[in-house]
């Protein structure tokens, strides 16, 4: 039934249609979807061959200047966000919508009431038989397992099974639209950023990457109380765990351990264990006070302000050193501290004695932070597609007609898909009812 209906709908340009109508027909055709899907696939392939989203230097080391210009012009350095790729997806969404609407409109408008065909028509069907006993309903229902009655009258009955399977394709295609919509919602209303926390740090913003990275306030703060990495005996990482507190309006809301595969969720924001690393921190005594500073972390008090700005593992074979910036009468100055050399590890800055005491490796945790309000639409799309695929491929629609005739009754059956399986089922039915092939 469906296949026949579609054949008619597929006629792209019936004679006498205007250009507009035939264009409309084309946009809603399967031919167009096959073309679009092929283009989307080809575009995706390009995106896996050409490295995505790296700087110009990397491209120029791989390709000639001329090729790089073409890559840049066509947006091949970021295929999946390039205008033409998005346009393809957009066209695909339109095509899919039109196609689905056109395919299912007739089904919703005019679903004809089932009726029992004429005796002669039933005899002509490829699957039919007659039985000469009488039959009671209870017996019939017990034989026709899973069937529902769709028509019942004095002349006979119509049974059907697998009605849902007719809507499998509708489920599949609307779900694809759901996934596209969910993805779009996530793109527009969601964000994805990054947060680096040393033990003890508290932050209420995340860094959103891209061409111009910026800081985005979260609305609450995250404090890293502890971070631990454990390893297998062979040295491979086993577990990363950040113990964090969620703090809002100065109150600790809760504490949780974040691991890979076990994110934290709060107010629709998910926080994931993404990476870790270590950064040195430098211990100074500044006028007698012990202070630990990281690179680019400023120290200020009434008398002095300074900031370690550059760390070197080894300075002229004298060991590790740190360049410190400070202000001298409003003028920025820098000075090197070298840890292992007496002469170079103590300086008087603005009259305050500063001594470089120690270096410590500080481990930090990298958390990826994202919010995606479209996620549940996408999940629903996934679930519906799988359901739709199941009913479309593993269920099928069939009907059984029963007509009362003189001296008994006549039974006929039809199925559009999966005829071979239905034939077997029908044959069993005939044996149970002691039917005689007609």
């Amino acid at each position: 039934m469906n296949a026949i209906k579609n054949k008619a709908a597929e006629q792209v340009t019936p004679p006498g249609k205007s250009l507009f109508q035939s264009l409309q027909g084309f946009i809603a055709s399967i031919k167009f979807s096959i073309i679009l899907l092929t283009c989307i696939a080809l575009g995706s392939i390009i995106g896996t061959i050409i490295k995505q989203g790296v700087g110009p230097d990397e491209y120029l080391s791989l390709y000639s200047e001329h090729t790089y210009q073409i890559i840049n012009l066509l947006g091949l350095n970021d295929v999946y966000h390039s205008p033409w790729f998005i346009a393809l997806l957009f066209l695909f969404a339109i095509n899919l919508t039109l196609c689905t609407v056109r395919r299912f409109m007739p089904a919703f408008k005019g679903s004809k009431k089932a009726s029992v065909p004429e005796e002669s028509a039933m005899m002509d069907m490829s699957m039919s038989f007659r039985a000469s006993t009488s039959i009671d309903d209870a017996h019939l229902f017990s034989i026709l397992k899973g069937y529902r009655i769709s028509y019942s009258g004095v002349e006979g009955k119509v049974f059907q099974k697998g009605v849902l399977s007719k809507y499998g394709v509708l489920f599949i295609h609307t779900s694809i639209m759901l996934i596209l919509i969910g993805g779009f919602v996530g793109l527009v209303a969601g964000f994805k950023g990054f947060m680096v926390l040393h033990k003890g740090d508290t932050k209420n913003t995340i860094t959103i990457g891209g061409e111009k990275p910026y800081e985005k306030p979260l609305g609450f703060s995250i404090k890293c109380k502890e971070f631990q990495v454990s390893f297998y005996p062979n040295g491979a990482p086993k577990d990363y765990v950040s113990t964090v507190e969620v703090i809002e309006n100065g109150k600790i809301i809760f504490e949780k351990q974040i691991r890979v595969n076990e994110p934290l969720s709060y107010k629709g924001v998910h926080i994931y264990q993404a990476s870790y690393g270590s950064a040195p921190s430098f211990t100074f005594t500044i006028g007698g006070e012990r202070v630990s500073l990281r690179e680019k972390e400023a120290y200020r008090n009434d008398n002095i302000s300074l900031m370690p700005i550059r760390f070197e593992q080894d300075i002229h074979n004298f060991g590790p050193g740190i360049m410190v910036a400070y202000l001298e009468q409003g003028e920025p100055r820098t000075v090197w501290f070298v840890k292992n050399i007496e002469r170079f590890n103590e300086k008087i800055i603005q009259g305050v004695p500063v001594r470089f005491v120690d270096i410590q490796e500080n481990i930090y945790t990298g958390l990826s932070v994202s919010r995606d309000p479209g996620i549940w639409i996408v999940w629903a799309g996934f679930a519906f597609i799988l359901f739709g695929l199941y009913i479309n491929f593993f269920q099928y629609y069939r009907r059984i007609y029963i007509r009362n005739i003189a001296g008994g009754y006549l039974v006929a059956g039809i199925a559009i898909k999966n005829k071979e399986a239905f034939k077997k089922e029908f044959e069993m039915l005939r044996e149970k009812l002691n039917g005689i092939p007609s």
């Binding site: 597929e10 696939a41 896996t48 062979n234 491979a236 990363y240 996934f382 799988l386 695929l389």
Partner: protein, 271 residues
């Protein structure tokens, strides 16, 4: 050598045996030989299962218990297992020696490659944190069952190109097998992609990041979607469909092997 390695070694030999039994059949065309074939395949699949379970148990003895689905060696052995499983599952349709011999060759190749290639690490390795998830099992299972169904689709598309009376099944039957295996494989691949996406959401915070392996699985998915539509709506049959199933499988191979060897990305730890 660990016990599971011995068992899987025997399994490889059994696949080789199966292959020779087919050759003998093609030489003498005695139906009796085919009658031996199926019980032997069941036995092989059974032992293959035992091998996988033993490896699973063994991993607990090393204090890092995880299903044998986590490195390249394990995925090859698991793929071979899935191919046999699908063949047994579709036994009624696939009851043609020309088809089973191809499936056997695929399993044999996968097992042989897994146990011989110097580039494959056969030890049980610990799971890196990203893989420590229950989604791993369902994701790998669905993907590889899909790949195995597509292998069957490929076999029928490949055989379609040849004729050999009484050995290669008639073309309309090959066409039907091709469609039926895609009908199994397509929902499986969809489930594989979706479970992967859900997992990625929990592990990395985004369900889709255009990583090469993800992208290639999408490409494969599209090829088979085109296959289904071309067949259903444009009425493609026969040779065109056979070619599409070969293209589809090429894409599967690239998704599975090519991406690991040629492109790099989140999934590259799978090598």
């Amino acid at each position: 050598m660990a016990f599971h390695h011995k068992i899987l070694g025997i399994v490889t030999l059994l696949y080789l045996c199966l292959f020779f039994i087919h050759l003998i059949f093609f030489a003498f065309k005695k139906e009796k030989i085919v009658a031996v074939m199926w019980p032997l395949l069941y036995g092989t699949l059974g032992l293959h299962t035992v091998g996988l379970i033993l490896r699973w148990l063994e991993s607990y003895r090393h204090g890092m218990g995880h299903a044998p689905l986590s490195n390249f060696y394990e995925s090859l052995v698991f793929y071979a297992w899935c191919v046999s499983l699908i063949v047994v599952f579709m036994k009624k349709r696939l009851n043609y020696p020309a088809i089973t011999v191809c499936a056997t060759v695929i399993s044999l190749f996968l097992m042989g490659y897994a146990s011989i290639s110097p580039s494959v690490d056969r030890n049980i390795q610990p799971l890196v944190p990203a893989l420590q998830s229950n989604w791993l099992h369902i994701h790998v299972l669905t993907c590889f069952l899909a790949y195995a169904s597509f292998a069957v689709s490929f076999i029928s598309g490949f055989l379609y190109m040849f004729t050999w009376k009484n050995v290669i099944p008639p073309r309309d039957i090959l066409d039907e097998i091709n469609y039926r295996s895609v009908v199994v494989g397509f929902p499986m691949l969809s489930a594989g992609i979706f479970t992967g996406a859900v997992w990625a959401h929990y592990a990395w915070g985004s369900y889709w990041s255009w990583d090469p392996k993800e992208t290639w699985s999408l490409i494969t998915w599209i090829v088979y979607a085109v296959f289904l539509h071309a067949r259903l709506m444009r009425g493609w049959k026969g040779k065109k469909i056979a070619i599409l199933s070969i293209v589809g499988f090429a894409s599967v191979i690239f998704t599975y092997f090519g991406v690991n060897f040629i492109l790099s990305g989140l999934h590259s730890y799978a090598t």
